[in-house]
Symmetry: C2
Subunit: 185 residues, 2 copies
DNA sequence: CCCGATCATTGATGTGCGTCAACGCGCCGA
DNA sequence: TCGGCGCGTTGACGCACATCAATGATCGGG
């Protein structure tokens, strides 16, 4: 656990190694994972005195921490940084809206495929490699896509049986035909 | 229609009067409304040369338009404006994450109640009035909450029958017991 | 080497919401 | 006044996904 929703925000973090999940909880324990972060991403920016979501490491992580007061100073000293920050939150907002479309209007199959494609593009922007590594658990994927682990699992095997993906192991996905995947997503 | 997703972004807008809906579409026409804007809100900020979503007026609106180039100039001339913009996108991002939680993990009843409470808080921050006006149609509400119009309609009448809300007409909601509503949402 | 814990998969069954269809109501134009 | 149309409501039915439950696979520790 890095911080929980509602914790007083003292630091912002930048990820050097590893991956992080962001999530929100309902009082009864239902969880929505709102995003996965990879090295280079910032977290803790969404603050108004307190963090707006919880953050947990998916595996071993290395974080670069900075006091909020330090960030304030950095922002006033170096205007370009503020601009960079604005660009980043714009991208985050666009991603959030894409995720709303996914959560509200896509079927389980479309959700899984969109998720895989997003990961593929995000982790390998050149688009060379037609495969994805999934560092997170099925539970994390389910909570990210608004599904249950059973549905996630069943959908993966259905996609494998349909020949849309190969699944050498639960955490590695290969696309024999990227275009077919894009069509189906 | 104000602009569509993918249109080359030339202007940013500020709403003087009326309300606006933002939405994203899937190729087959499924729609996800990602937010409703009220007077004072900006739109068109999320751009990377093109708008990331579509925008339509819900009723008669009055917009204040500004060329993007003008905004750039304004930003470099007046640093505080940039800071204000950063705050606003932070708020938007927090709202987007709340909406992801709603879309991914809440039942139809919880979605409707959360939506009503959000409107109530948003339109009347003082929280005095225990009622809400819904300017948008059932279709808009359904596409915002990831439901169908039938489910929205049924849920409204179920809430009325349970005494959680009063419904003098389809576009006006009264809360006899705000706390009960908050618990149920 | 075995044991328990964790995670993924699979099957049987249930249900919340979607789909399809009909109907009522208010509005506007002929 | 009437008829068409958009919008909201209501009912019957179906299905995609959730729930409940069992089994298999992997892994670290005694």
């Amino acid at each position: 656990m890095i911080f929980e929703e509602g914790d007083p925000a003292e630091y912002v973090f930048n990820i050097s190694h590893g991956e992080v999940r962001l999530y929100k909880l309902l009082p009864d324990g239902r969880r929505q994972v709102t995003g996965f972060l990879i090295p280079g991403d910032f977290l803790g920016l969404i603050t108004d005195g307190a963090y707006a979501y919880g953050a947990e490491a998916i595996g071993p992580v290395e974080l670069c921490c900075m006091r909020l007061s330090g960030l304030e100073r950095l922002l006033s000293d170096m205007p370009p940084v503020r601009e960079r920050l604005l660009d980043m939150s714009r991208d985050e907002l666009a991603a959030a809206q894409e995720q709303m479309l996914l959560l509200g209007r896509k079927s389980a199959r479309e959700k899984i495929l969109s998720f895989l494609l997003y990961r593929q593009r995000h982790l390998d922007p050149t688009g060379r490699d037609a495969s994805v590594d999934l560092t997170m658990s099925r539970t994390d994927i389910a909570d990210y896509l608004g599904l249950t682990i059973e549905t996630v699992s069943r959908t993966f095997t259905a996609l494998r049986d349909d020949g849309l993906i190969e699944l050498p192991n639960p955490h590695h996905v290969i696309f024999p035909d990227m275009d077919a995947v894009r069509d189906a997503a």
